[in-house]
Amino acid sequence: MPESEFDYKQLDDIIHSRIRLAIMSVLISVEEADFNFIKQNVKATDGNLSVHIKKIETAGYISVEKLFVDRKPLTKYKLTKKGKEAFKKYVERLERMLGR
């Protein structure tokens, strides 16, 4: 296998970060999730998580819905079509690196 296939620069920069990859993985496993559910699974602080979510949102990989449930604010996150495709490509690229 040529050396270039192991080049990490080929990977999507938006997803290629531990926390952002974890956020994307959580959202691929469920239809939509609120901030607390993501936090619980990603194990990050509120501030750190918010920064990374914003980055993914800016890239158009997730959509954000703000609503009120029992008069309490609730923010729900969902992967967009673009996000799902980016995640799929990312995993495929990793698998290709492993020659699968």
Binding site: F6, D7, Y8, R18, L21, A22, S25, V26, I28, S29, V30, E31, E32, A33, D34, N36, F37, Q40, N41, V42, V69, D70, L74, V91, L94, E95, M97, L98
Partner: protein
């Protein structure tokens, strides 16, 4: 080589996160245990009513336990909604499947039990559209479908195998013509629903404790 290891670790990381998130939204198995106990109580009431030729209180028992069961299911669904727990597509299908089969089984249990009462009292001439003895085999077949689909959605061979238990048991029950169908069905309920439900519940508790 180092890059290859990194890629391997990354894939493993993704796999673990997805597995953990899914486990957190999985059904705990508690509803299987509760509904299993409810059915065992109801079906054994039918058995004792049959052998004692006294169906006076059977419908009241069924009415009470079914209302309790559906109240539990309603409260449990409301609790999940309140917690804003996310849902997977598979879980949505699974919930819809069990609600639909639960309603079907409730109707069958009630209609057939009413018919038993009428058989004894001779209020309405026999036969009816559904034979009274079909109560347990028909419910077994419905449970077979529900377990098979649930096992397939969750990619769980153990759950799929439980479906075969229900179907085979259903065939046996179709050929029985005595009140013994009831305790046999109750035993099937314990083996194929309550015990696996306890197993799922314990696993779900371990998962939520992060073990």
């Amino acid at each position: 080589m180092e890059e290859k290891n990194k890629a391997e670790l990354e894939l493993e990381f993704i796999k673990n996160i997805i597995k953990d998130s899914r486990e957190k939204v999985e059904d705990s198995g508690l509803s299987s245990v509760i509904w299993g106990i409810i059915v065992v109580i109801g079906i054994m009431t039918n058995y004792f009513s049959g052998i004692n030729h006294n169906w006076n209180y059977t419908l009241y028992v069924w009415g009470f336990i079914l209302v309790s069961g559906w109240t539990y299911s309603y409260l449990s669904a409301r609790n999940v909604k309140k917690k804003n727990m996310p849902e997977t597509f598979g879980l949505k299908v699974q919930n819809a499947l069990w609600s639909a089969s639960g309603i079907t089984m409730t109707i069958i249990a009630l209609v057939c039990t009413i018919q038993y009462k009428r058989d004894i009292s001779d209020f309405i001439p026999y036969p009816y559209i559904i034979n009274s003895m079909a109560i347990t085999p028909v419910i077994s077949l419905i449970l077979g479908i529900s377990y098979y689909v649930t096992g397939s959605i969750n990619d769980c061979k153990f759950t799929t195998r439980l479906a075969y238990g229900w179907w085979i048991g259903g065939i046996v029950l179709f050929y029985m013509k005595s009140y013994n169908t009831f305790p046999i069905f109750a035993l099937m309920m314990i083996l194929f629903q309550i015990i696996p439900g306890i197993k799922y519940y314990r696993r779900s508790k371990l998962n939520s404790a992060g073990k």
